[in-house]
């Protein structure tokens, strides 16, 4: 029999409803798996007692035949989601000891759908990073290794703990958040599925804010179907988030028909960036061929400002962050480092509480918003953002989805790209434009690099058309037959 922790969410749902195993057995298996994966440092806080208590409630509902959509599903929650009474750090020292007195909307919805909380997972500090090397709680290791090379690799970021936990079978699925690629890039690096839905699809209420006009929550799973199931439970209008879309939530799973005949797939020529490894070009072409074989039609589209998206992002995101992170002042929660005056207390607290990358971004953000520079930087970036979003609307007049690689490389070793912030920023060259335009983007594992590491393809859709994105993702998944497993799997099979 397959181990419980090898089942997809959809398979586990079936098994639970058929009473082949209980939610308690699932929770017990995953608690053991979570403990076995400690060397990866994926979890910041483990909540095994809560997992077992929630599983008992699921079993009670399952016994009555009143199963909820996610009953008994053990989830890892990114440590950016506020969880009532459970330590929430955002990967930062400045939130040391913070136990939120409330629960985020997204996690509330997940628990209301019967899901089980395993614990809170590691991440880049305040979601600022692409390698999970900026967390105050230490680096996360990717469960994958290069063939013939035992050096530990990064899981990607910022949702690195989420991706590592799901890939290593230490959680059946996880929540992530994505401001510039933080769901899709780690999903690609760890060989799992991740979708950033349309801006406004999931409520941001109770998620520690990084850049509010870009942040979106989404699921990270081991199959496209699982992503569809979990996204449905996470989505929906929330009056407490003024940018939450007042739209009905479609049955995303029902969209997975496999039928993409006649669909137009945009291939943006500007995504053929200099220095992209040949094997990623090849994988991209294979993706185009798979979709063509399934009856879709590739069309060339132009997203001419692609190369300016990162620079735009690195004005807008730090500007918003410098404002959002002003709340960490040592007064109301988290760390306080004493000072003679109130200002000195603020300055000492923030100097000690924030890590180097967060400080860098706050300072850049403060600078681009400061008197005399606002128009030259911030306003300019907002104008370019308009043009980038316009590029996408033009492209979507000619196609229904856009296919690209998720990231310009496979996972790299911990320590690489560390001394040059811009080299690190380039990880997100293919994902950042999607956040700027507020569109849905999905990463699906599509193949392995020559040294045996997973590579993802990204499907981008029109605003609020996650259904087509997931349908196309499902076709890629079926064609790619990605069955490779990481070297490190909980339980060590």
């Amino acid at each position: 029999m397959t181990a419980l922790t090898d089942l997809t969410l959809a398979e586990a749902r079936e098994g639970l409803i058929a009473r082949k195993f209980s939610a308690r057995e699932m929770a017990t298996a995953y608690v053991a798996a979570m403990e076995a994966t400690r060397p990866l440092n994926a979890f910041i806080t483990e909540t095994p007692e809560r997992a077992l208590a929630m599983a008992a409630e699921s079993d009670e509902r399952l016994a009555r035949g009143a199963a909820l959509p996610l009953d008994g599903m053990p989830l890892a929650i990114k440590d950016l989601f506020c969880t009532e009474g459970v330590l929430t750090t955002a990967g930062s020292h400045i939130l040391d000891g913070f136990k939120p007195p409330y629960e985020s909307t997204v996690t509330t919805k997940l628990w209301q759908a019967g899901a089980v909380m395993l614990g809170k997972v590691n991440m880049d500090e305040f979601a600022m990073g692409s390698a999970n090397v900026t967390s105050a709680h230490g680096n996360v290791e990717n469960p994958w290794r290069r063939r013939g090379d035992n050096r530990p690799l990064v899981p990607g970021g910022s949702s690195g703990g989420s991706a590592a936990a799901v890939a290593a079978r230490a959680a059946i699925a996880a929540t992530g958040t994505d401001t510039g690629g933080s769901i899709r890039q780690p999903a690609s690096f760890c060989g799992i599925v991740g979708i950033k839905p349309t801006y406004g699809r999931c409520s941001r209420w109770g998620i520690v804010a990084f850049a509010s006009s870009l942040d979106q929550a989404g699921p990270m799973t081991r199959s496209v179907r699982d992503a569809a199931i979990m996204l449905k439970a996470m989505s929906g209008h929330d009056p407490r988030d003024s940018t939450s879309a007042p739209l009905p939530v479609p049955d995303f799973e029902a969209a997975l028909t496999g039928d993409i005949r006649g669909l137009k797939v945009g291939i943006p020529r500007e995504y053929r960036v200099d220095g992209m490894p040949a094997e990623i070009e090849k994988l991209w072409q294979r993706g185009i061929d798979w979709l063509t074989a399934a009856g879709a039609e590739p069309v060339e589209v132009s997203l001419k400002l692609t190369k300016y998206a990162l620079a735009t992002y690195y004005i807008i995101a730090p500007a918003e962050a410098s404002s959002n992170l002003a709340r960490y002042d040592g007064v109301r929660f988290g760390l306080r480092v004493p000072g003679q005056t109130l200002d000195e207390m603020y300055e000492n607290t923030r100097a000690e509480g924030f890590g180097a990358e967060v400080k860098r971004r706050i300072l850049i953000g403060t600078y681009v918003l400061s008197a005399g520079y606002y128009d030259a930087y911030y306003l300019k970036a907002q104008q370019v953002r308009t043009l980038i979003a316009r590029d996408f609307s033009e492209a979507f007049k000619r196609c229904d989805v856009i296919l690209t690689p998720t990231a310009p490389s496979a996972a790299f070793a911990i320590g690489e790209k560390m001394d040059d912030p811009i080299a690190m920023y380039l990880n997100d060259v293919f994902t950042v434009p999607v956040n700027l335009a507020g569109l849905p983007g999905l990463s699906v594992p599509a193949g392995l690099s020559s040294d045996g590491l997973p590579l993802g393809l990204q499907v981008i859709g029109r605003a609020f058309d996650e259904e087509t994105v997931l349908r196309v993702g499902g076709v890629i998944e079926d064609a790619a037959k990605f069955t490779a497993k990481p070297q490190f799997i909980a339980g060590g099979r």
Partner: protein, 95 residues
């Protein structure tokens, strides 16, 4: 745009982050490098382009001006580094 040490010190004060003088040079170099890279945006003509502050194609919604939350003082204060008599405690600000 190259930032000098004095500018770094000024923005650090604005951001209320203590940056010891010994780190200011290094930080000035790092931030200048990022700003120089960002300046590629000047290659784009944005004359007359509306700046985008949100991608949400909707107006900010209005709601009834009524109390929807509250009565949770102690819950909120529970996370404070220092609290007394139902208040946050900070260093003395008025002499």
């Amino acid at each position: 745009m190259a930032l000098d040490k004095a500018t770094v010190a000024r923005i650090a004060t604005l951001a209320r982050i203590k940056v010891p003088e010994a780190e200011q040079d290094h930080l000035a170099r790092e931030l200048s490098q990022i700003l120089n890279w960002i300046e590629q945006l000047n290659e784009i003509d944005t004359k007359g382009v509306e700046p985008m502050s949100s991608v949400a194609a909707m107006k900010l919604p209005m709601r009834e001006d009524v109390v929807t939350d509250g009565n949770c003082r102690d819950k909120i204060l529970a996370n404070a580094p220092a609290a007394a008599h139902g208040f946050f405690v900070v260093p003395k600000v008025v002499e």
